[in-house]
């Protein structure tokens, strides 16, 4: 059974801090790993990672994949209150287009 595990499950930081969110996976015939941000409503796509060691970056957010150790991290630098959200990590199941999601990390950024 495919498994995606995120840690920590929740995190409280102050504005300006840098945070690292973790995602480990056990997926048969791994193809990719995806990160989503969920505020009050629909999860929105952040990154899709397929190659080990190549960092994807968007503004203050970046993510990297380690296919040897089977994990990914999502970094957020200089956090802002608008970064408060649930961050979801997911991987496609073998031979399917459905995603297996982790339970998410709830990030709270306080002023």
């Amino acid at each position: 059974e495919d498994k995606v595990v995120q840690s920590p499950l929740s995190l409280v930081v102050h504005e300006g801090d840098t945070v690292t969110l973790n995602c480990s996976y056990e997926v048969t015939n791994f193809r990719s790993l995806l990160w989503y941000k969920q505020e009050k409503k629909a999860p929105t796509f952040l990154f899709m990672l397929t190659s080990s060691g190549i960092e994807k970056k968007s503004g203050r957010l970046s993510s990297i994949l380690d296919k040897k150790e089977l994990f990914s991290i999502l970094n957020i630098t200089a956090t802002q209150t608008g970064d408060s959200a649930i961050y979801l990590c997911a991987a496609p199941s073998a031979g399917s287009y459905q995603l297996t999601f982790g339970k998410g990390t709830k990030l709270s950024v306080i002023p």
């Binding site: 193809r31 990719s32 995806l34 989503y36 409503k41 629909a42 999860p43 929105t44 796509f45 899709m48 979801l88 997911a90 496609p92 287009y97 459905q98 995603l99 999601f101 982790g102 339970k103 998410g104």
Partner: protein, 114 residues
């Protein structure tokens, strides 16, 4: 921009009622999905569909059925709602592609069964 629209943002139903949750996407995506999201349990797949009239069970299909009569519309049906089906329901769609697993989500329907 891809748009996935769920018909209701909030819904309150009584135990035993038949409930329909509707989802429409405007990007001609082949794949459509229904997830439920509960605190501490994350997103769990209920059903998905990869074509009109085709459906596959996800991880937690019990108590639910689905309908996909048109490509753009995927309905989730609770035949006889129960209190343990109180949850946030998220619809999503994606292209049929081996290199693109990106899901586009609707805004969710918060269902309360009393």
């Amino acid at each position: 921009d891809v748009k996935v629209t769920q018909s209701s943002r909030y819904l309150v139903k009584r135990t035993g009622e038949k409930v329909f949750l509707e989802c429409v996407q405007d990007m001609d995506h082949e794949n459509m999905f229904w997830y439920r999201q509960d605190p501490g349990l994350g997103l769990r797949l209920i059903y998905f569909s990869y074509d009109v009239k085709m459906k596959e069970k996800g991880d937690i299909p019990e108590g639910y059925s689905v309908s996909r009569e048109k490509k753009e519309r995927f309905s989730l049906i609770l035949e006889s709602a129960s209190t343990n089906q109180t949850s946030m329901y998220l619809c999503a769609s994606s292209l049929w592609s081996a290199t693109n697993e990106k899901l586009f989500f609707g805004s969710g329907t918060q269902l309360s069964v009393l």
